[in-house]
């Protein structure tokens, strides 16, 4: 960290403080929380792309899996639903897994030829129909339990902090399966494949109501351990006294406290992930990864197992993304599969990494902060800019109205422009790799 980099970070914090004064502190704290989450996500993508050169654009899928983890760990279990079909669903899923394992075994063990194709097809078709016969009735039984309120299996009722770890593990597990299938593809094929996987994960989350209520959303996900609810703070006399000492009214003070506590939690996670990433990058393992990235053939000739290492780094990066996704969902307090959008949850994170400096962890953190800040603030700035630019037009002129109403879409334009400019003029990013 030299003076230049430190001052870059200071600029970001100054911008956040400026938002506090100009807009409101509530907005500023909210921004800070999301900046921290974005930084963790950017670190995850940086591990995949910056360390190993894996062009995986499935980021959104792993973030969403992290969100799913908060639901399945922290929501209270729905006992009636479990009784109605919980075990049957699990059996069906295990059966499906067994069918797939069986298929791969048939493929490996039997000699290539017509017989193998025939046995494989029969096994898969029979397996699929038996699976559906097991799965469908169980699902309708679960979804029939109080569909307006629950209609899903619920979670395990564990603390939310645990769910962040579970988010990482879940994303890592899925990434392992995906990596097994699609790593080793050429770079742009891998991109298309991971883009598709992310869409499939979102489709599963949207449609499998028994799992996390699908598009009916899960609200009221409990908060992580030290973060209280605003209402309970406002009822406590000690807190009201504390607020009055700073000249704040209890409503504002409670909202700030909650947001600051979230930010502290996220900052701790970010620091742990950053510390571990730094250690990994400077270790022999990190050097090996970069060697593989820079010249696969040479690394392979030196006896490095490139595919295995790629799988490893893919899983680790995805785990970080899963943790960040779980953090985000627990900050929101609700799981909304309908809101996952690849522009926001995949490509924006990529912009963060590229702008910050691929391969450099501090760069990714900076990129996460800066790009998230712009993503949110471009809208008010753009509206103001358009307002000024169109001020000579009469207030009810169609173009002025249209432009002001479309200001929200300025952010995509700006992100594209930033990405192109950085790629062209600072291809190494704001904090280049050493």
């Amino acid at each position: 960290m030299n003076l230049r980099n430190i001052s870059l970070f200071l600029v970001i914090f100054a911008l956040l403080i400026l938002v506090g004064f100009v807009q409101s502190w509530s907005v500023a704290f909210q921004l800070l929380s999301f900046c921290l989450i974005s930084a963790v996500m950017a670190l995850g993508v940086n591990i995949q792309w910056g360390y190993a050169g894996l062009f995986s654009v499935g980021t959104m899928g792993f973030v969403a899996l992290g969100g799913l983890a908060t639901v399945i760990t922290s929501m209270p279990p729905v006992k009636e639903a479990w009784a109605a079909g919980g075990v049957r669903v699990l059996v069906a899923l295990l059966f499906a897994g067994a069918v797939i394992v069986g298929a791969t075994q048939i493929y490996k063990r039997m000699k290539p030829g017509r017989n193998r194709a025939l046995v494989l097809t029969l096994e898969l078709i029979a397996g699929f129909f038996i699976y559906r016969a097991l799965f469908d009735p169980a699902v309708s039984a679960i979804e029939a339990v109080n569909p307006a309120g629950t209609g899903y299996l619920g979670g395990l009722g564990l603390p939310v902090l645990v769910s962040w770890l579970v988010g990482g593990l879940l994303a890592a597990g899925v990434a392992w399966v995906i990596g097994k299938v699609s790593l080793g593809l050429r770079s742009d094929y891998l991109a298309i494949a991971t883009l598709g996987i992310a869409e499939i994960i979102i489709a599963v989350l949207k449609n499998e109501d028994w799992l996390a209520r699908g598009v009916k959303n899960v609200n009221g996900i409990p908060r992580p351990w030290p973060v209280p609810y605003e209402i309970s703070l406002q009822k406590s006399t000690a807190f009201i006294d504390f607020a009055q000492r700073f000249g704040l009214n209890p409503v504002d003070a409670s909202s700030y406290t909650v947001k600051v506590l979230y930010s502290v939690l996220f900052a701790i996670v970010l620091m742990i992930v950053l510390w571990m990433s730094q250690k990994a990058l400077t270790s022999p393992w990190g050097r090996m990864m970069r060697a593989i990235r820079d010249n696969e053939e040479a690394a392979e000739a030196m006896g490095k197992d490139v595919t295995h290492r790629h799988l490893q780094v893919f899983v680790i990066g995805s785990a970080v993304l899963g943790i960040a996704g779980a953090m985000m969902t627990s900050l929101d307090g609700l799981m909304t599969p309908g809101t996952y959008n690849p522009l926001r949850f995949t490509f924006l994170i990529w912009v963060m990494v590229i702008v910050g400096g691929s391969g450099n962890n501090w760069g990714s953190v900076l990129g996460g902060f800066l790009i998230w800040f712009l993503w949110i603030e471009v809208e008010p700035i753009g509206r103001w800019l358009l307002d000024v630019l169109t001020s000579p037009m009469p207030n009810d002129y169609w173009l002025r109205i249209h432009l002001l109403n479309s200001a929200a879409h300025m952010r995509l334009l700006t992100m594209g422009l930033i990405l192109l400019l950085v790629l062209r003029f600072w291809p190494k990013g704001l904090i280049p790799e050493k």
Binding site: Y189, A191, A193, L195, I197, I200, F347, S406, G416
Partner: protein, 337 residues
């Protein structure tokens, strides 16, 4: 009672005709992707949004014509607006090439850098489209709705089941055939087309024999802009126009291009139909077809649907993965026009 004729009609109405139309749209989109890959050698992630942009221009021109009272009823006005859309899109795409891709060609950047630049272009196009026309669904189809309605068909044939063919489906098929024929005529019969194939086959050799690379690139972008606008407009006429759906078409289109062999135009067309037929037939509920084919007592209770429609991405994805694992070059060999 076993009734093969009626079963066939149901199948045609709900699977064959829609898949044929959707397949043609995908094929035209995949052609654009595959041509870019063949000449410029990168996967253009901005293609879906280029389609959205071109279609938007067509829609705006259509509205303007509708207001001016221009009409070619019973055909949709959008067909008349198509040339305007193609021209504007071609200009925009050429400007992007000037501003973005040309620099990377000059420094001979790695393909992955091109892909990233195309992500930037994707963002900008997406933003522009949302800025100009908004993210909401737009309707711009006018003219007649059907070539044959289900009722007319029943009247004509006396069958129990009807088959409807939408005008948009008919137009899609005819346009696709014309466009593909013109494209292949251009690539195989004209001097410029031949020089492009030479360039795609072996760049160095083509340069040595005096082919101007910038001219090749210029022409390919114009062709791609035309293909994207036509594909987008046909899709919009047939289904509906919503910018985000066009972005999502990226996956099936890429799958089509890869299944057919990236860089191979014939492959892109075949791939488009492979993807569309699998997507439609896997997500279609075959209950009514089966009911006609088996004796009454065997009639199925369920929908006989393999996957719910929302999993259609899974279909293109699985085909993509299977092809990449077992035949990485695609059904036809990829890599050159």
């Amino acid at each position: 009672m076993v009734d093969i004729l009626n079963a066939l009609v149901v199948l045609a109405n709900f699977v064959l005709v829609p898949a044929l139309a959707y397949g043609s749209q995908l094929a035209l989109g995949a052609l654009g992707i595959t041509l870019i890959y063949g000449i410029l050698r990168f996967s253009n992630f901005a293609h879906g949004d280029t389609m959205a942009f071109g279609t938007m221009i067509v829609i705006l021109a259509t509205w303007w014509m509708q207001k001016a009272g221009v009409s070619i009823a019973p055909l949709p006005t959008a067909l008349l607006a198509l040339p305007i859309g193609i021209a504007v899109t071609a200009i925009v795409v050429l400007l992007t090439d000037r501003a973005v891709y040309r620099f990377y060609r000059k420094v001979k950047a790695a393909p992955i850098i091109f892909v990233m630049a195309s992500l930037g272009v994707m963002f900008i196009m997406n933003g522009l489209v949302r800025f100009i026309i908004g993210p909401k669904e737009q309707t711009f189809a006018d003219g007649a709705r059907f070539i044959i309605t289900a009722r007319d068909f029943k009247h004509m044939t006396g069958l129990h089941e009807g088959m409807a063919i939408k005008l948009s489906q008919g137009i899609t098929l005819i346009t696709a055939v014309i466009v593909v024929a013109a494209l292949f005529w251009f690539l195989n019969r004209t001097r410029t087309g031949k020089s492009m194939r030479a360039f795609s086959d072996n760049e160095d050799l083509a340069l040595l024999s005096g082919i101007n690379p910038e001219r090749v690139v210029l022409i390919i972008w114009i062709i791609v802009a035309a293909l994207a606008t036509i594909a987008g407009t046909l899709y919009g006429l047939d289904k509906s126009y919503k910018p985000f759906t066009y972005f999502q078409l990226l996956l099936p289109m890429f799958a089509a291009a890869i299944v057919g062999g990236l860089g191979n135009p014939l492959g892109a067309i075949a791939g488009g139909f492979v993807i569309s037929f699998s997507e439609v037939s896997v997500t279609y509920a075959f209950k009514r077809v089966v009911t006609y084919l088996v004796p009454d007592s065997w009639a199925p209770d369920g929908l006989v649907q393999l996957l719910s429609t929302d999993y259609k991405f899974a279909v293109s994805f699985s085909i993509l993965i299977l092809v990449l694992l077992f035949r990485p070059t695609g059904i036809f060999k990829g890599q050159s026009l």
